[in-house]
Symmetry: C2
Subunit: 402 residues, 2 copies
């Protein structure tokens, strides 16, 4: 596509999406295509988790491979969601994602929803921002400590804003609500474009029809059921999974076990979110566990969910302190993983106006202490000797528009 | 051997030896036999390094296996030299070894020497203790900073005590001198029994005749040249090496690399003996090195010898601080790895008089922060999934006297 004349001088429109692509599958392609159509945007910008993901696990394929898959399936610009935002509960994950899309002046945000009834996300966002104190007060008043946080929040909104029919129980639904709340904080909020997901069972393990869930794809890849996968994956993802290297938490289990064994309880207390005495429990169970899965099973309690423990395990593996997380929040930047010609053009347009620094190259001089991104990339690389260098000297992937 | 009547009531005699047994070979058997004969002792007590050794490396076979090999070849009592004394330069290694033998009221100390001329070790020991300041003064006066420390000390003694013909250049010779110096500090020094070693080339890599060096045996075991090894090893060592599990530094390289990558320079400075800016160098080279051997090659300078770097690597792997080392020095104890009937009898005799606590069982409650021994055992176990539990619930090996 050659851009000439008047079109070049007009301001381009961008639709943002916040993604993980673990790995990219046909459901994601459907999302990208709909984001473009619903928004009528010139470019689709994906803010994508790096090598460690929201649920506290390493990505099956590295971030560069996943960025390339996205670009080859219609995304114009892939920006890395920094580790400090990515490996977090929905609220912080959404905060980081929206922050980056806002910094790139996106006009719309398209996200998946599991809800069968249409929800006015924008109204919810505004209400949540404007009534923050009332929501907190009601939450305390209800005092339903025996319920999970999502269940409690569902009750809060049933009382305060029953017309919205909110249910905080589904993970993807919660993400949509978090996006809406974060977006409403900005002077120029993005237009919200919820998209009904094709697969609602997030943890579905059976591959069916054209749309397989990411979880099902990962299980298939580790079990090498290639024939089944070929029919439900874009060609490039299928090829990438077959070639590998693939990693799961088990690849990092020897390193995590070693850290838990060689660290004192006092040192473990310095790890982000390692508190309430859980340091004793993880240290004890590290000696008993025979695998990462076994370890989480042993440590798991009602208070500590699987996902919360996986995130804690990731912070421990990364040897990351609260101070480093907070520093990372302050120093967010736009690390570009890849772009199409259109994406590159949009990025050029944003050079002057983007509210965060745009990084197209990783400097070798970045201190691993200051840059959790560099540290997480290097630790990720230890999972398999075939994983390529993830930081130093890597430039954004560039592809031509189809 | 049944002990009855008068002999039981007499005080037994003990000859100490300070060893590593990496692994036990025919030269060591020769040493044990001579220790017994030269001292005319009832029991031979070996103070043996645990799972990490003086030169800063993991032992090829675990400490329990090596203790059993020693007991089956004539040693009566095997006591573990604690990590904080074992992984050290000759001076500290000797200090720990002599401290433990003294605590067990040994009458003699038999050690190998490479020297062709007979040396009056006891005279040297007394002189070194009584003239500590003069030696230091002379060392400074000579000011031969361009020479290695052993070379400088050789010159110091050439000036102060030429009759001794001392040469500090050979590692085993230096150990003998260190034993002598430490021993002379005690009110009741042990009788020193130097024994001419059969193999003087410490790093000899060719197996010859009946006496193979430990280095040559390890090389043979990793290369699986079993036929060659069979003729030079006691039956049990031969069998143990063939069965394994065997470990070398390479087994721990992924863990060390991970620690170096995931630690900030500031954290690395908290490691014992990590100073003078070497933390920047090790962190940089960890990214470039393809193996442990390659790593040491890359970090090595004139100032940092191979052995010094291996020790630093061991402290780093163990995540050990100066404070922990000093605490370990203060809290030395006699951890019994194994005993013959005679050894057990001797130990019983010592219960009242031993000047350090005797441990025959590792408590599960020992904090890894306070007990470097427990930590080093657990980290050692990570080197190979076939290595058995090294601490909790392990009792001393007991063998019947031949």
């Amino acid at each position: 596509m050659i851009l000439t004349g008047k079109r070049c001088e007009e301001e381009m429109n961008a639709c943002g999406i916040i993604v993980e692509y673990n790995p990219f599958h046909s459901g994601h392609a459907y999302h990208v295509q709909n984001a473009r159509e619903l928004s009528d945007a010139d470019v689709v910008i994906a803010v994508m988790s790096g090598n460690f993901l929201q649920r506290g696990e390493p990505s099956i394929l590295d971030k560069w491979t996943r960025a390339k898959e996205a670009l080859e399936n219609g995304v114009d610009l892939v920006v890395e969601l920094p580790f400090v935002w990515a490996v977090q509960s929905a609220d912080y994950f959404a905060r980081g994602g929206v922050k980056l899309l806002q910094a790139l002046n996106c006009d719309a945000l398209c996200f998946g929803t599991d809800s069968d009834k249409p929800i006015d996300y924008e109204a919810f966002g505004r209400f949540a921002v404007e009534n923050k104190e009332l929501i907190e007060k009601t939450y305390k008043e209800l005092g339903e400590k025996h319920l999970s946080y999502p269940q409690q929040m569902t009750h809060v909104f049933q009382r305060l804003y029953p017309e919205l029919h909110l249910d905080f129980a589904s993970p993807n639904h919660v993400l949509g609500l978090s996006y809406a709340k974060e977006n409403a904080k900005y002077t120029h909020p993005m237009k919200l474009l919820p998209l009904k997901r094709k697969i609602t069972q997030y943890n579905e393990e059976i591959i069916h029809q054209q749309f397989a869930s990411a979880t099902a794809v990962r299980v298939g890849a580790f079990n090498q059921t290639w024939q089944e996968l070929e029919s439900v994956l874009p060609e490039n993802t299928y090829r990438d999974l077959k070639t590998g290297p693939l990693v799961s938490w088990e690849n990092y289990w020897p390193l995590l076990k070693y850290r838990l064994i060689a660290s004192s309880e006092e040192e473990l207390r310095g790890i982000y979110q390692m508190n309430e005495g859980i340091e004793y429990r993880v240290k004890e169970m590290a000696l008993k566990a025979e695998s990462f899965t076994h370890f989480i099973e042993l440590v798991k309690t009602k208070r500590y969910t699987w996902t919360r423990l996986q995130r804690l395990a990731t912070y421990t593996l990364m040897n990351i302190s609260e101070q480093e997380i907070e520093l990372g929040w302050k120093n967010s930047s736009l690390r570009i993983l890849g772009m199409s010609e259109m994406g590159q053009k949009y990025l050029k347009e944003q050079k002057e106006t983007a509210s965060l620094p745009i990084l197209t190259k990783n400097s070798k001089k970045m201190s691993s202490y200051l840059d959790t991104g560099l540290k997480s990339d290097r630790v990720y690389q230890l999972g398999n000797s075939r994983i390529l260098e993830q930081s130093s000297g890597r430039f954004p992937i560039r592809i031509k528009n189809a």
